[in-house]
């Protein structure tokens, strides 16, 4: 958090470099992605058929055969929606708090001194580590899951957002001062928009973090959601079902990340060009 060079958000670099609206020339890129996925699936199938025990590492074909009834008869979509619901609520709450706290820490020295050190300590408490606390505080209902997602989102996003607020060019801040903007106005109308590339980068890491937290959150104390299904499949040692859930989970994260990038690059375009 103190080393600025090390914390430059790599995630935002491509977005900045790529001119907005350059989707047309990307067909080669799309082909490469499809090719790489096909290659992965084929290797997986071959490995599970010839190298490993099918029971331990089910291949894509088995997973597909297991997945169809799960979707059609067992309401897998409902569980997906329940998990996504928790992710979205926790992510939005965590994201908003991360932006507010991140900008305040990054720009107000007193706030940094007060909140910075405890935050450095809390960073090391992973969402999994907080499961007991979440259950004690919020019970086994929705609130404890949302809290864990919130926690993951906040922690992963806030570090990058602080960095963004700290690396705004001095000239930009002085420019706001010289035209007579109050500190408050400067914070929300100059610092916030100037930090958007970092905010987007930080939130994108947080998307992955929030997805990684939903499973542990639902494993222990839930009656629904993908994590709950995963724990049920583990009890019955049903490896194909485990792999279906993991595959669905990976695809969900992949899609969410893609949607996030698409929406931010379109909606926040004028803040991402410098």
């Amino acid at each position: 958090m103190t080393d600025r060079r090390a914390q430059t958000p790599a995630a935002t670099a491509p977005e900045r470099a790529r001119p907005a609206g350059a989707w047309r020339g990307r067909s080669g890129h799309v082909m490469a992605i499809v090719g790489s996925l096909v290659f992965f699936v084929v290797c997986w199938q071959l490995a599970s058929t010839f190298l490993f025990n099918e029971k331990l590492l089910p291949g894509p074909v088995t997973i597909f055969q297991t997945a169809v009834p799960m979707f059609v008869d067992e309401g897998l979509v409902d569980h997906i929606m329940i998990s996504l619901d928790r992710v979205v609520i926790g992510f939005v709450l965590g994201g908003v708090v991360a932006i507010v706290v991140g900008l305040l820490i990054g720009r107000i020295r007193l706030f940094d001194a007060l909140v910075g050190p405890p935050l450095q300590f809390l960073r090391f408490l992973s969402p999994t580590a907080l499961i007991p606390v979440a259950i004690i505080w919020f019970g086994i209902a929705e609130a404890s899951k949302v809290f864990l997602i919130f926690w993951a989102t906040f922690l992963f996003a806030v570090v990058t957002i602080i960095q963004g607020a700290k690396t705004i060019p001095q000239t930009r801040l002085r420019s706001a001062q010289t035209i007579g903007a109050s500190s408050w106005t400067a914070l929300w109308r100059v610092v916030l928009p100037s930090s958007v590339p970092f905010i987007v980068g930080g939130l994108r890491t947080a998307v992955a973090a929030s997805f990684m937290s939903i499973i542990p959150a639902e494993l222990l104390a839930a009656q629904s959601g993908l994590g709950y299904l995963l724990s049920q499949a583990t009890i019955t040692m049903d490896t194909p079902r485990v792999f279906v859930i993991l595959t669905v989970f990976g695809l969900l994260g992949f899609l969410t990340d893609w949607v996030f990038r698409l929406v931010t690059s379109l909606a926040l375009r004028r803040y991402l060009t410098t």
Partner: protein, 272 residues
Amino acid sequence: MLTMVARPPEQSTTSPDDVVEIRSVSKRYGRGARVTSVFEDLSLDIRRGSFTTVVGPSGCGKSTLLNLLGGFEAPTEGRIVFEGAEVSAPAPDRLMVFQGAPAALFPWLSAGRNVEFGVSQAHRKWPAAQRKEATRRALTLVGLWEHRGKTPAQLSGGMQQRLQLARALAIDPGVLLMDEPFGALDAQTRETLSAELVRIWQGTQPRKTIVFITHDIDEAIRLGTRVVVMAPEKGIVGDFDAERFGFDDGIEQAGYGELRSTVRELLGRGAL
């Protein structure tokens, strides 16, 4: 307010009073044994309506001096008085025009919004119509009214600097502080913008007070009505009247070469 009626330079009447008084100001950085002094006991008065250029090599403290005037830094000793009140913080009445236009502008706002945002912050009590009018006049004055819908990134480097100048003109400050505003531009653009700045300044009624920092001796003499020379660790080493040199034919006028060599000598051959 600005008026667009240009007046010939010889008619300029600078009132005797001073807008800015710099009184025995010292600026040092660091503490204890590591203290470094930028300048000591520096005094300077800026007359109302003057175009004062401060010239010197990098490290002479000219930018620090401007930052003190702008209120971005505080003097270690001495005081700076602007219109009778001691300078303690940045204010739009001592408006700074920065060298790096991309950082000084707000890239997410259109050119028009950049100016309007400046006006709305500097003059919160102005009604919307007055803000819009000030924005329109300033953008027209620098030739950017047609480009008001573009973002800064869609403008060239010279146009971006014009936009920053438009924001400053729309705010109409008591003194305009310019920190090597054309330093990052190519020679051609620099020449055009310098001429334009003089034209705009000559059109202001009453004349706007400008303090302009540069490391270019020719720029200093041609733009300024007064040239202040600063040298590293020595503070102010020269103070010249340069009113007789018009911008367009400055270098061809008698005495220009003489002033130029004097300034050059003051700064030492190795300095520039």
